[in-house]
Every structure is written in structure tokens, then in C-alpha cells.
Chain length 77, copies 2
């Protein structure tokens, strides 16, 4: 199985969700991307359909927005 | 690891998320509960902190609201 990508921005909701996702699907199965620290990744996330963080993009390209920490627009600001 | 519980109400967003979650964490690791068909489960979901479906309650009790299909209030109606 190829990896999922977990996009977050360091917010408390993001950190909590990250811990849950890593526990559930295994750290080897997910790449963690902090779009607040690496803003070049924001457009990558947007192209994948991410509207808010935290969000998990599955290997088949579906986007699971998990709870709500911040919108992509907020992270850009 | 004890099981997670995936609460849903049969909506298209729910069905899509269910397939993703089952693929990601494995069918043996999650119980699927349709609160539209079994309304006695609505109060159970609410006690766990579920505000909308689809939602995943992790073994440690955290609630991950995934995308947005319907609010619990909508399911009650």
C-alpha cells in the first residue's frame, strides 16, 4: 500500500489528530507534512483537494478532513 | 488494540469515508454502526462526543469527525 499524507499546521487539533492517525494506521503508512512550516506544500495540498487542516489524503486520492483546525486560507495568511 | 467505532448514517459522504477508513485501518479494527438504521445508537454516539457523521471514535476515546455528511440532529429528525 502506498502512503497516505497527513497535512497539518501545528494547531492543537492537528497534533491530537496526528497522534490518533499515526496510532490507527501506523507511522510507516503516513507521511506527515506541516504546511505552516513548509509553505511550498500549501499548493500541493490544495491540488489534492485539501480545504482545511488537519486532513488525510489517502493513497487513492480521497481527502478526509478530520475535525477542524484551520482553513488553508488561514494557513496562507 | 481494541476496536475503533465508525458511526455513519448511510449518506454518500459516509459511505465514501467508511471505505477509506476500512482500507486504512483494516476491517478487523473497526466496528461500523449505522445510527440511521439503529437509532438506539444515537445516544451512544452522542455520549462519545460525536456531533456529526461520519465520525470515528478511536480506542482511546478521541472523536475524529471526518468530512461532513449530516449532524446528529439531522439524523434524529
Amino acid at each position: 500500500m502506498s502512503k497516505s499524507i497527513f497535512y497539518h499546521a501545528g494547531c492543537p487539533v492537528c497534533v491530537s489528530a496526528e497522534q490518533d492517525i499515526v496510532t490507527l494506521i501506523g507511522t510507516d503508512n503516513v507521511d506527515i507534512v506541516h504546511i505552516g512550516e513548509d509553505k511550498t506544500k500549501i499548493s500541493e495540498a490544495e491540488r489534492s483537494g485539501v480545504k482545511s487542516v488537519p486532513a488525510l489524503v489517502t493513497p487513492n486520492g480521497n481527502v478526509l478532513h478530520i475535525n477542524f483546525g484551520a482553513s488553508i486560507e488561514d494557513v496562507k495568511a
